[in-house]
Symmetry: C2
Subunit: 125 residues, 2 copies
């Protein structure tokens, strides 16, 4: 999978990495059981420090997207906690919808945009 880091972004490198990997999982570019590149390997190929990649992996582990195996490294393994996921989703959506509403984006437009994203990412379950 192609991972692109924007060094000019104000978003932390490890968060950009985390987000891209999560999007990679959602679009089935990474599948349950797949191994992520080793921390050193990925750090080399991107041109960042090993610990930055390690932090991204650690966060992904804490958030229930991967498990770490001594031999296979970070392996995609989703731990589904629906209650927590729904609570987080609601919290995030509240802010986003407030911003959208202020900017004259209607409820219908949001629904439409979501459908577009689901179509773009045909892989979404």
């Amino acid at each position: 999978m192609i991972i692109e880091i924007d060094f000019n972004s104000d978003e932390a490198l490890y968060l950009q990495l985390r987000n891209q990997i999560i999007m990679g999982i959602a679009t089935a570019q990474f599948q349950e059981g797949d191994s992520l590149p080793s921390v050193r390997q990925l750090a080399d190929s991107i041109g960042i420090n090993m610990h930055t990649v390690n932090k991204a992996y650690t966060v992904l582990k804490q958030e229930g997207y991967v498990k770490v195996d001594r031999r296979k490294g970070a392996v995609i393994a989703i731990d589904v906690d629906r209650m927590q996921a729904l609570a987080e989703l609601k919290r995030e959506l509240q802010v986003i919808l407030a911003k959208s509403s202020c900017k004259n984006i209607s409820c219908e437009e949001v629904h439409q945009l979501i459908n577009e994203i689901y179509e773009d990412y045909g892989g979404l379950k």
Copy 2:
């Protein structure tokens, strides 16, 4: 309007402030032309530093939610840049929907949750 700050949150104080004010605008608790409390006043009532409130107001100004008047202070004044707002919305939704998809939350459930939020916040335009 009641502003509640969570000092245990990992979210920056000025961002919590910004988000709550945006939600306040979206729910019509603040209306176009209304003045926000002075930076010193709000800082006092919350128990934080003046500059932290000032930073929140500065961000709100940059993002087009308020304009600052010498006399009235920070005044609600929405500057609608739909293109930019839609672009930002899409970027944020992509990550959120990816996370949701991984956690077995369906597209329909997201639509439903959005409707719930719109109903809860009856004030949303």
